[in-house]
Each structure stands twice: as structure tokens, then as C-alpha cells.
Amino acid sequence: MQQRPPLVRARPAACLAALAACVLMAAAPPAQAQNLEVAVKATYLYKFAPFVEWPPSAFETEVTPLSICIQGEDPFGPVLDRAVAGQRVGPRAVVVRRMARVERNAGCHILYAGGSRAQSAGDALRAVRGAGVLTVTDSGHETGAHGIIQFRIKDGRVRFDIDDAAAAEDHLTISSKLLSLALSVRTRR
């Protein structure tokens, strides 16, 4: 028999997701809400991975780590590092790399385009277009660029739009489960 998991009793080490939930229901102070929003987004970054299928060429081996690249301005900071610590996507470990500019062959699998003076978010996206990289942007940051996935706040919750057409161009397959959670989907032709 499988051990019965606790139903009501919450673990003392409440995770970020739980914190995020609290944020959504309570009228928290803006700064704290800001932090929670960042934390949720950081978690989402690696959580997208299981719902996305990369082309085989994207990984050298079976165990090649999944690279999450943060280009330009980094809104996450150590929150992201803590979130991905010890996380695995299947057999793969998850690594976070930060860079001012992103190159086409930088080996990124997920790219958060924050944009910087050295390389705007739009440039960053253009740099990796067609290279099989899941690009993520945030509508909250006025970069004007739209990645395959774009974070959006709705009803005080972190949601996202998905550009499945762009994903197709990048040879990425996004699970319908993820698509069904999106606020809007630009379908592939």
C-alpha cells in the first residue's frame, strides 16, 4: 500500500508555489507581491520544460543539462537559482546561465529575454530564431518583444500567452496541456 499522504496538514517547509497561492488570495503589500510574482515566474521557467519537446539536435547526449539562459536584465536573481536547485527534467539537470548577449549557438534551451543595452530583447530573440530555443518574455517589462511564451498577469495571477506558430518555426512541440493553460494561443498553421 502506498503511504497515505497528508491531506490537511501542510508541511512546515512551505514552498514558493504555496507562497504564490497566498499572494493571489491575500491583499499583500506591493513589494511582497512583487517578490512572489518573481518567484512564481522563476519556478515556471523550469516547469515549462516537461511540457516542451525539443528537436533531437538540441541536446548532445541523453544527459546533457537543460540550460536556462537569462539574457540581459535578470529579474530573478538568487530566487531562480534556489528554485532550480536539485530540480531535474527527466534525466537532465537544470543549469542557469546569465549573459548580456545571447548568441545563436550559445546552447540555450530556454531563453528569458530581459533585454539590455548591449542587446535588446528583440535582438536576442532574433539571434536565436530557428535555433530550437524556447523563448520567454515578460509583458510586464516594456521591451516590446514577444517570445514563444510571454508572462502576463491576469486577476492577480501569473499566466502566459503562447505563440505556437513561432514554436513550430523553432521545431518545438508544446504539450496541449500547457496550451490549454495559456490565456491565448497563436496557433501554428
Binding site: P5, L7, A17, A21, K47, F51, K177, L181
Partner: protein, 573 residues
């Protein structure tokens, strides 16, 4: 079923009990097996449900879409068997849950399944369901209960059946016992009936004789009158011619009386039914004196006997009785006298009961008052009589009827008021030949010496007379008065040529005992017994000893003595 019926009852019960037990065990096993199967199936079903839930909530769980997760959970809660649903994220935090308030009692099933996407764990789902609804459970228990009831019923029915069979067997045995008892009773009754029938026959004879008594007595009176008158007249005359005439008259009267008595005795003898081949003409002719003399003086008996009558096989005694009964009836039908005709003739191709056959018809006719048809139809019933009280018992015609039926024949009666009555007995023809007529006593005188005779007779007068007769016939008699003295004489001198002995004598031993003793000492000695008792005679005849019935005339004595000697020669040649 034939095979089943050969099994002993006790074994049958064991077999059935074992069968019932096996049935019950099989039922329980099937129930347990079903239960396990059902539980496995249910576990699979619930697991699949949990997996579907896990797959469905994967995205929502990963991206914290609680309302979506809750929708999935609530959707599962629509299933009444589901008690609790819980969804946990990868940190083990409860994200959504459903718990039924009015959860039913009974066994439950708990399943936990991980929520994964690709190879990444996202959390888990927990599902608790009722294994089985109460109705389904009750139905399964009901089936087992039904099996148990059926098994008990089977045993009960077998038990009842066996009990019924035992009862039936017992009843059958009792019935058989009753039947055997009834059979024993029947046998006893049959014996009694046979005895009663014999007694009836005897009483029928006695009845007939009783009917004759008047006539016989009258006849005897006449005979005595002739005898005593003759003797008186002989005393008064010296004329030899006249004396001879008177002597002849007296002898004839005595002869007639002796014949009459002999017939009466022979007739009244108690005998068993003994069918024999009989010459009817001879037998009826021999009754002439009896009929002539024993009826009334105003009755004449005419015999009309055809030549060459076929032989018949019947009991001669009963035949005589039947003719006598018919003659008595004919007499009584003619109070003013008249003729009775006894007729015998062959009746070829006589039709009886739809079949034809050869019969001899013996009829007795009178010219009396006759009978009305309603009386004719009843005359053969026992004890039916038209006669006054004291005149008849009503057994006469029933004897005639019984005799004819027993002989394989029938009796017919033709009667009309004022026209007389004819009763005809049809007796079936026998294909056996009638015995030769007995040799008539030869009247001859022996003058030459015939041998020495041991005469045993207790009565002095009879002894003197018989000694005279023997001497007359040429024998040399030596007299002994008892069986003992006779044996003494014989022991001293066993060379006697013959023994002539009375049958009934004082002392413990009779003539038949003497005959046995003498034959024990010297076989082949001719022995002749004489007696007036017909029953004793029958006994002696049965043992092969010749018997001469008293009274007898000298010619009969001579003839029987010769016959006895001939017997001895034949048997001990």
C-alpha cells in the same frame, strides 16, 4: 436412475450430504474468488481513474491553476463511489481536495498516483473509493445464503424422501404380512369347506335314506310276513311238496331283504369322491330292487335302458344317490301314485355351453303335478324345497346338480304344472373302457375235498351255520372264537389251506389284524373276511384282503373262497 436405485440407502444419504457440502464449499469459494477478482478489477479501475486525474491535472498543477485542478477533482467526486480525492504538488502541498460528507460504510480502496509530465514528477493524486456498494455486497451475500438454503433443502428433501421410502417399505411389509395371514385364513377356510362338503354329501345320503325309510320298513314288514308266515305254515304241513314251496318262498323273501339291506349299507357308506369308469346300464339296473321296494306301492318304476351305452367316468355312489334323489322327488310329485321312468340313452353331439360333445343322458320322469317356471329356476339351490316341514331338506336336487357339475356334465329340467317333470342328467362320454362285468356267482356244489379251513367267528349261531356251509362245499373247518385263539391254532398247525374270519370281533384285534399276523407267519395263505359293516370292508379291501359282505348265500361263499384262492395263487406263484 437404475444405477442410483442399486446404491444402499445409507450410502445414498452420505453421497447427498457430501454433495450438498461440496455445493456449499464451491459456492463460498466462487464467492471468495469473485470477491478477489472484483477487488482486483476495482483496484485497476480506481488506478486508471487516478492516472487519468493525474494526467489531467499535470499542467494545471505545474502552473498553479488551482481552479482547474479543483474542477477535475470535483468532476471525480460526482462518482458516488469516490469518497476522497486529493491532489498534491511536487512539494507535497495539498492543492485541491474533495471529501464526501455522507460516506457509506464498508471496505474502501486507496490509490496514490504520481503526476508526471515526461519524466518529471509534478506531484501526486490520492483517491479513496468504496470498494463495493452495499446493494452489490448484499446480493453476493444473498447468493451464498441462497446456495446454503438450497443445500439444506436438498438434504431435507433427501431426508424426507428416505423417511417416506422407509414408511412405504414398512407399509409394504405389513401388507405382505396381512396377505400371508389372509392366505392362511383362506387355507383354513378351504379345509373347513372341504370337510363341510363331505359332511354335506353324507347328510344328503342320509336324507335320501331317510326318505326311503318308510318304504323300506314297509317292504321289510312284507318280507318278515312272508318268512314268519311260511315257517308257521311249514309247521302245520307234512306235505314235502308244499313244504318245499313254502321254503322257496321264505328263502326268496330273505334274499330280497338281504339285497335291500346290502344296498342300503353300501349306499350309506362314508366314502371319498372316487371317479371311476362306470357302465351306466349295469349300475342303474342294479338299483332296480332298491327303487322298486323303497318307494311306495302305488309307484311303479320302469327302466328304459338303451343298449350299448357309452362308458362314463364318475363317482358311482353319487350317481346312485342322484338317481335315488330324483326317484324320491318323482314319488313325492305323484301323491296318488303313478309310473316313474328311468331312462338312459346316448346323446351324441349334445350342445352345452356353446360346445358340442358326446354325452350319456340319464333322465327320471314322472307324471306328477309339475312345477311353475319360477320354481324350476330355483330348484337347484341348496335348501330350496317345496315340501312340507319334515318331508325334505331341500338338499336332493342340489346334490344332483353338484354331482353333474363335478362329473363334467350338466342337468336339465323340463316341467310344467300338471304335465309332470323330467330331470335329465347329461354325463360326458369317457374314452376309457368299462371294466368287465364281475363273474356271476356260479351255483355249483363241491363234493370233493377242498382243504382245511380255519374258521374264526365269535357268534356261536353264525359259526355253526358257516361251518355247515363249508362242510357242504367240501371244506374241513376248524373253529376259533377269537383272534388270539385263531393264532394259537395256526401256530400249532400252520398247514391250513385257508382262513375264513369275521371282521369285527370282541378283543383288541379284528379280522384284518389276524390277516396281517397270519401273512406275517406264512405269506400266501388265502384269507377271506366277512362283515356286515361296509366301512370295515372298505378298509380291508384297501389292504388287498377279500371281503364277503354279510348276509351271504352259500353260492357267494363258494365263489369268494375260490376267488381268494385264485388271488393267493396269483400273488405268490
Amino acid at each position: 436412475m437404475r444405477f442410483w436405485s442399486t446404491i444402499p440407502e445409507r450410502l445414498k444419504l452420505t453421497v447427498v450430504l457430501t454433495g450438498a457440502l461440496l455445493l456449499l464449499v464451491a459456492g463460498v469459494w466462487v464467492a471468495v474468488f469473485n470477491e478477489r477478482l472484483y477487488r482486483e478489477q476495482k483496484t485497476r479501475d480506481v488506478a486508471v481513474e487516478a492516472e487519468i486525474l493525474a494526467a489531467s491535472v499535470a499542467g494545471a498543477l505545474a502552473f498553479d491553476d488551482r481552479s482547474t485542478v479543483q474542477q477535475y477533482v470535483d468532476a471525480l467526486g460526482a462518482n458516488p463511489e469516490v469518497e476522497i480525492v486529493g491532489v498534491y504538488d511536487d512539494k507535497g502541498v495539498l492543492v485541491a481536495r474533495f471529501a464526501r460528507k455522507d460516506a457509506a460504510e464498508g471496505p474502501t480502496l486507496e490509490i496514490t498516483r504520481p503526476v508526471t509530465q515526461g519524466q518529471t514528477g509534478l506531484g501526486r493524486v490520492y483517491l479513496k473509493t468504496i470498494t463495493e456498494p452495499a446493494v452489490r455486497r448484499a446480493s453476493r451475500v444473498g447468493i451464498i445464503a441462497l446456495l446454503a438454503v438450497m443445500a439444506s433443502l436438498l438434504v431435507a428433501m433427501m431426508g424426507t424422501g428416505q423417511a417416506a421410502q422407509r414408511r412405504a417399505n414398512k407399509a409394504l411389509a405389513e401388507r405382505a404380512e396381512e396377505l400371508a395371514e389372509a392366505n392362511r385364513q383362506l387355507e383354513i377356510e378351504m379345509e373347513e369347506r372341504a370337510r363341510a362338503e363331505e359332511a354335506l354329501r353324507q347328510s344328503q345320503k342320509m336324507e335320501a335314506i331317510g326318505q326311503l325309510t318308510g318304504g323300506v320298513a314297509h317292504d321289510f314288514n312284507n318280507l318278515l310276513m312272508v318268512a314268519s308266515g311260511g315257517l308257521d305254515l311249514m309247521d302245520r304241513t307234512e306235505d314235502p311238496v308244499r313244504r318245499q314251496k313254502l321254503k322257496d318262498g321264505v328263502r326268496e323273501a330273505l334274499t330280497r331283504g338281504a339285497d335291500l339291506v346290502r344296498q342300503l349299507l353300501a349306499f350309506s357308506r362314508r366314502t371319498a369322491l372316487k371317479p371311476e369308469v362306470v357302465d351306466l346300464g349295469q349300475k342303474i339296473e342294479s338299483m332296480r330292487i332298491l327303487l322298486d321296494r323303497s318307494l311306495r306301492e302305488d309307484i311303479t318304476v320302469n327302466m328304459d335302458l338303451a343298449e350299448h351305452l357309452w362308458p362314463v367316468e364318475l363317482d358311482a355312489n353319487q350317481l346312485e344317490l342322484a338317481i335315488l334323489n330324483l326317484a324320491v322327488n318323482a314319488r313325492d310329485a305323484m301323491p296318488n301314485g303313478g309310473p316313474i321312468v328311468v331312462k338312459a340313452e346316448n346323446a351324441p353331439s349334445h350342445r352345452r355351453d356353446g360346445e358340442t360333445g358326446d354325452y350319456v343322458c340319464v333322465s327320471v320322469s314322472d307324471q306328477g303335478q309339475g312345477m311353475a317356471p319360477d320354481i324350476v329356476s330355483r330348484v337347484f339351490e341348496p335348501y330350496f324345497t317345496t315340501k312340507e316341514v319334515g318331508k325334505g331338506t331341500g338338499l336332493g336336487l342340489s346334490q344332483v346338480y353338484g354331482f353333474c357339475r363335478a362329473s363334467g356334465g350338466e342337468v336339465r329340467i323340463v316341467s310344467e304344472p300338471g304335465q309332470g317333470t323330467t330331470v335329465a342328467m347329461y354325463l360326458p362320454r369317457s374314452n376309457k373302457a368299462a371294466p368287465e362285468k364281475p363273474i356271476e356267482a356260479v351255483r355249483r356244489r363241491r363234493t370233493r375235498a377242498q382243504g382245511r379251513v380255519l374258521l374264526v367267528e365269535d357268534d356261536e349261531g353264525v359259526a355253526a351255520l358257516v361251518a355247515e356251509m363249508l362242510t357242504e362245499l367240501g371244506y374241513a373247518p376248524t373253529r376259533a372264537s377269537t383272534v388270539s385263539t385263531a393264532l394259537d391254532v395256526f401256530d400249532r398247525d400252520p398247514a391250513y389251506d385257508m382262513v375264513l374270519s369275521d371282521m369285527v370281533m370282541p378283543g383288541e384285534r379284528n379280522g384284518l389284524d389276524l390277516a396281517r399276523e397270519i401273512w406275517k407267519r406264512r405269506a400266501g395263505v388265502p384269507i377271506l373276511l366277512t362283515t356286515g359293516y361296509s366301512e370295515a370292508a372298505a378298509q380291508a379291501t384297501a389292504e388287498g384282503v377279500r371281503v364277503l359282505l354279510k348276509p351271504y348265500r352259500i353260492e357267494a361263499l363258494a365263489s369268494e373262497l375260490e376267488a381268494a384262492k385264485a388271488d393267493a395263487r396269483r400273488l405268490h406263484a
